[in-house]
């Protein structure tokens, strides 16, 4: 058999691709890439370079630019609210990744184990399409300290003393993140990913003696890994730039306890300190860059290679 396999697989001396064909293919490939490249340049790299430049000027809305060198950055480093905003952003990002990214993986896996009809109902409930503003109003009602539903549950049902929810400096971040478990969930991606895993993998594992947890650990999670990697990247980038939801819910309060970097940038802008705002944006960009690089190192290879 050895000899035979050798015969069938034998790659005979192959003629290599002539250079004019390669040149033509390169040219064709270039034609495909150019539009994307131009788009990326004008809407991605060019504004970035401009921002980097503006961050070293006073960046007035009108009138002449004044070169500031690193003055903007120096000023920001001396501002105690800047490290605070970064700290809050990092906590917010960490918590929201933990809750909105990790929990749906397990919920999805559990959903997959349910009968199809139960799963369908759960999916509809979970991924109810809600508009952002409407759901903000809804959650503001839930968290309301006088007649909100949660206050009622806390006092009337659980018999706790009145809670401060969004006005608690210590807990406000957690309360802000909870809704996104339901609103923004990559759960749908996970479910789609799970559904594309061949059933025979689970059946083979079952026959080979694997229990519930072993099946999840050795099949579901590794097969989901590419999707997990993708949503994690989105979650990192998205949560570090979080703005809309906390701004609508708390406007950064109480006492700046929920003021993220982007919200602080808005504050500075509102004070017409355009150069400082740009410099802070560049700093946030650097943070995201570092986070992405760390991510790239951790999630390196395709699990199937």
């Amino acid at each position: 058999m050895a000899a035979q396999a050798e015969v069938l697989d034998a790659p005979s001396a192959q003629s290599s691709v002539p250079s004019e064909v390669k040149a033509r293919r390169r040219w064709q490939l270039a034609l495909f890439i150019v539009p994307a490249f131009l788009f990326q340049f004008f809407w991605g790299w060019y504004p970035m370079l401009v921002a980097l430049f503006l961050s070293m000027t006073d960046a007035p809305i009108r009138g002449a630019l004044t070169w500031q060198g690193l003055n903007n950055y120096n000023r920001l480093l001396l501002d105690p609210l800047v490290p605070m905003a970064f700290r809050i952003t990092l906590i917010y990002a960490g918590l929201s990744i933990l809750l909105t990214f990790a929990i749906p993986i397990f919920v999805s896996i559990l959903l997959m184990e349910m009968p199809p009809n139960v799963m369908r109902v759960m999916m509809i409930l979970w991924f109810l399409p809600l508009s952002g503003i409407a759901s903000t109003l809804f959650w503001q009602y839930l968290y309301n300290e006088q007649f909100g539903l949660f206050q009622w549950i806390a006092t009337a049902v659980l018999g706790l003393p009145p809670q401060s929810f969004l006005s608690s400096q210590n807990w406000v971040l957690l309360w802000l993140i909870l809704p996104s478990i339901l609103l923004y969930g990559p759960g749908l991606y996970y479910l789609t990913g799970l559904q594309s895993i061949p059933r025979s993998y689970y059946e083979a594992a079952e026959i080979e003696g694997a229990g519930f947890w072993r099946k999840i650990w050795t099949i579901s999670l590794p097969r989901l890994r590419p999707i997990i990697a993708m949503t994690l990247l989105f979650a990192i980038i998205g949560s570090l730039q979080e703005f809309t939801f906390p701004d609508l819910m708390t406007r950064g309060g109480p006492n700046g306890a929920s003021r993220t970097v982007v919200m602080y940038i808005m504050n500075i802008l509102n004070n017409a300190r355009y150069g400082d705002a740009t410099a802070l944006a560049v700093m946030l960009f650097a943070l995201i860059m570092v986070a992405t690089l760390i991510y790239r190192i951790v999630f390196k290879a395709d699990p199937d290679q």
């Binding site: 000899a3 035979q4 691709v17 064909v21 390669k22 293919r25």
Partner: protein
């Protein structure tokens, strides 16, 4: 109807920029005669589907020319070449009934109702009994074999120059495949349409093709009748691909009249054969029916039989084992005794010898004179 010629056709895919890339079609020159059915067989990735698509015009060659009936069509778009294509997934328009599928061509070509009815009627008559019943049914309700018949009919109404089929029946189950291919073969010879038939199944290729193209790595290894491929293969690849159970290949070394296997055992070659072979490393290849199988040692080498497979349906049995590092399947009579050991010698008249390195044929049995 027409003949098809390919002249030095070369096709590269986009992977051409990757290191080690090879052409999908590597200087293919061949001629398919008018009215002939030619099957194309080869391992996956050998370029057989690319060959079909290039002839169809779905892929443009990077070099070389294609002719239908001596007229160059290299730059002519697919829809103007007058071809009929049938694919694995039937490619019928599912929400039309069989008749709608046939008449679609006339609708897009703006032919008159009269022309249409006339041609439909002719086709249905030629397709044989019961075909008019198929025409009135929705495609969804047709079985796989029936769909293929409608598919063929759809091509025939257009009076194609060339028929191109890519694995048209590999979705059907075994018994249905057997029936459908008889039907297709008969229709094709009745209509006398030049046909290229791509398949990965060598048995189907043998059945369907008047001649067979064997492809590997973008090149035509051999293009000939089944008998020529079977008895006079150009190289070891062709010999291994054609014939089931597959030919056994034993690496060996010739020294005078002695042919020594890797295991150290040896046979004595007949003088006439020995003189035609170069000394040194060779590959001996023997088909299942090419072994002289004995129960007593004599000139034969001992083969430890792992298992005797008795095929009542083929009125034959095969003794399996390993000899000199190669898997052996030796044809024995159906009533051969259950034994753990037999003694083997190639029937030198029916054995094949190939070059050890480039695997070209050094000795082949030649087509036997049967009548």
């Amino acid at each position: 109807m027409s003949s098809v010629q390919l002249e030095n056709v070369v096709k590269y895919y986009d992977s051409a920029l990757l290191p080690g890339a090879a052409p999908a079609l590597d200087h293919i020159t061949l001629e398919i005669r008018d009215g002939e059915t030619v099957s194309v067989v080869g391992p996956s990735g050998c370029g057989k589907s690319t060959l079909l698509k290039t002839i169809a015009g779905l892929e443009r060659p990077d070099a070389g020319r294609i002719f239908y009936n001596q007229t160059e069509v290299t730059q002519i778009p697919t829809q103007e070449r007058g071809i009929g294509m049938i694919f694995q997934d039937y490619a019928l328009y599912p929400n039309r009934e069989g008749q709608g599928n046939l008449s679609y061509y006339f609708e897009v070509r703006k032919k008159t109702e009269e022309e249409k009815q006339q041609r439909l009627k002719e086709t249905a008559e030629m397709m044989g009994i019961g075909f008019d019943l198929l025409l009135s049914r929705q495609v969804d309700t047709l079985s796989g074999g029936e769909r293929q018949r409608v598919g063929i009919a759809r091509c025939i109404v257009r009076d194609p120059n060339v028929f191109l089929m890519d694995e048209p029946i590999s979705n059907l189950d075994a018994k249905l495949r057997e029936r459908t291919r008889v039907e297709m073969r008969r229709l094709l010879s009745k209509f006398g349409i030049t046909t290229l038939y791509v398949t990965h199944d060598q048995q189907e290729a043998i059945f369907m093709g008047d001649r067979i193209i064997v492809m590997r790595a973008g090149r035509v290894e051999q293009f000939d009748s089944f008998d020529a491929l079977y008895y006079t293969p150009a190289n070891l690849f062709v010999a291994s691909l054609i014939g089931t159970p597959p030919i056994s290949v034993l690496p060996a070394e010739r020294d005078g009249l002695t042919l020594r296997l890797h295991s150290g055992d040896s046979w004595t070659l007949p003088e006439a054969l020995a003189h035609t072979l170069p000394p040194g490393r060779l590959r001996l290849a023997v088909r299942p029916e090419g072994w002289l199988v004995a129960l007593q040692p004599g000139d034969g080498l001992a083969l430890n039989v792992t298992h005797i497979e008795r095929l009542y349906t083929e009125r034959a049995a095969f003794a399996h084992g390993q000899l000199g590092g190669a898997a052996i399947n030796a044809l024995v009579p159906l009533d051969f005794p259950d034994t753990r050991q037999v003694f083997l010698q190639p029937d030198w008249e029916r054995s094949y010898v190939f070059h050890a390195d480039n695997e070209s044929a050094l000795h082949v049995p030649g087509v036997p004179d049967l009548f």
